[in-house]
């Protein structure tokens, strides 16, 4: 039970129930679709990046489990106003968190995104948490879609 509570923390459940920045962004100039064909999670990330390379707006829509939806919601909250360079740092740090390669008590920029730490202990659910992050990276790199299977494995393996 304590492990499950650690995984399904209140903030994750709250973002699952009331996802922030949920919906299509009509003014987006970047977007990418991410899907996990094995479990059916699928999301589209929309972003509007200005000429200075700052993410002015970022939203998502789609469907999936609580972990993936909360990950998408909290990611969009964190990304708004960030430069692409800063976003890339966050994406890498989140990926490190999910693969157990981040020292949570050390120096990083994830803030309360570390609530996803519990997911890293469930290898079968890591893909859920990483999916929207990988889709965001694809959007920023002008790719149209990513999948958790095949060449575009979000864990890079």
């Amino acid at each position: 039970m304590s492990d499950l509570r650690n995984l399904y923390q209140e903030v994750i459940l709250d973002h699952n129930r009331k996802p922030r920045n949920f919906g299509v962004l009509a003014t987006a100039n970047r977007q990418a679709h991410g899907d996990n064909p094995l479990c059916g999670d699928n999301y589209t990330i929309y972003a509007r990046v200005n000429d200075e390379g700052v993410i002015e707006e970022v939203t998502f829509d789609g469907s999936g489990c609580a972990i993936s939806k909360a990950a998408a919601s909290m990611m969009t909250v964190r990304m708004k106003g960030k430069s692409i360079a800063d976003a890339e740092v966050l994406i890498q740090e989140f990926r490190d968190l999910m693969t157990g390669n981040l020292d949570v008590s050390g120096e990083h920029h994830l803030g309360h995104l570390t609530v996803f730490e519990g997911v890293a202990r469930l290898p079968q659910r890591v893909k859920c948490a990483v999916l929207p992050w990988h889709a965001l990276q694809a959007a920023l790199e002008h790719k149209e879609s990513v999948s958790t299977e095949g060449d575009h494995d979000p864990l890079g393996n």
């Binding site: 039970m1 492990d3 499950l4 509570r5 995984l7 399904y8 459940l13 094995l38 479990c39 059916g40 999670d41 469907s63 999936g64 489990c65 609580a66 972990i67 469930l122 079968q124 659910r125 859920c128």
Partner: protein, 420 residues
Amino acid sequence: MALDAITNPKTGEPERSWEEIRQDFPILQQSVNKHPLVYLDNAASTQIPRSVLDTLVWYHSTEHSNVHRGVHTLSQRATNSYDRAREKVRRFIHAAHAHECIFVRGTTEGINLVAHSYGRAHIKAGDEIIISALEHHANIVPWQILCEEVGAKLLVIPMNDAGELDMAAYRELLSERTRLVAVAHVSNALGTVNPIAEIIELAHEKGAKVLVDGAQAVAHMQVDVQALDVDFYVFSGHKLYAPTGIGVLYGKTELLEQMQPYQSGGAMIARVTFEETTFTELPYRFEAGTPSIAASVALGSAIDYIESIGLARIAQREADLLEYATAKLQSVEGVRILGTAKDKASVLSFEVEGVHPHDVGTILDGEGVAVRAGHHCAQPVMDRLQVPATARASFAFYNNYADIDALVAALYTVKEIFGV
């Protein structure tokens, strides 16, 4: 429960109780995530009884060598065991001849073999193949690929909201253009038992052949391929209390004889020169290379085990478990059962309102309860029911009422965590 006290009509001995039978499965004696394991993913893979595990050890300790190759003693022993396993399969599904039972890797390979060796030779542009809305991807994709290649058309028997096939629509789909009907005996996603005897009879009236995917059926009910008059019947060992990597394709002799090999190499030849090869007889023509001998022998042992309990008694036990589980789950507010066919095998697909099935699966696992969460390799079924996925509990005779109570208790944990 009342069945626990009956005597075996064959031996006159008292039947072993279900709790005794459960002790035959070493894997069930463990804890998972600090809870006693409650294994309810039997539609994915059933567990292996000690007698079958012992067979694997015994085979590898005393007989292991290659079959149909050597003149030495071990090779002969292995060959005898391999042949005996095929004979057990023949008897189990009531085939007329052992050579009609081809050992394959599993149901998927069996279907691919038929699509490749029968389909490519007999299905032409303008012909039609009928499958059903309940099929596993393994009984969809090979036919899609075949249809695309030869220019045939794939038609689908629709189903109703309960998950039952629309037999009136099936009659409409059948025509002189129908070459093959490929349907599941039992739906893996919903548990529906399809009326395959009627499906086969109607197809034969139009001159079409029928392949039945029996992966979800053979462990739960008597299958008599001759009484059914089925043309091809396919199943997997790992859903029949045997290891992975072994399955059976049954085909009528007259059909198998006119089919070209699926794979080629050793064991399936009569004579090879660099100019020409002639193929050997059935069943070896379809068993190129060294087969999965140990798993085949283990499959024979699993059949012995099932027959020692009796499929009729197993079917009654599983029907009792399904009835109990269905009533219990219906009593949990917010739980909806998907698949309510009148004739069902022991599969219970469900969703918890407001909670994605993967989260249900993770929380149940945290409580030691193993279920499948996902689309069950049956995405068209999910689309038809307008759900992204379901959670699925599936029962075997070694499950008990306490397992179902543990499932229900864990569902209340799901509801508590998600506040639904």
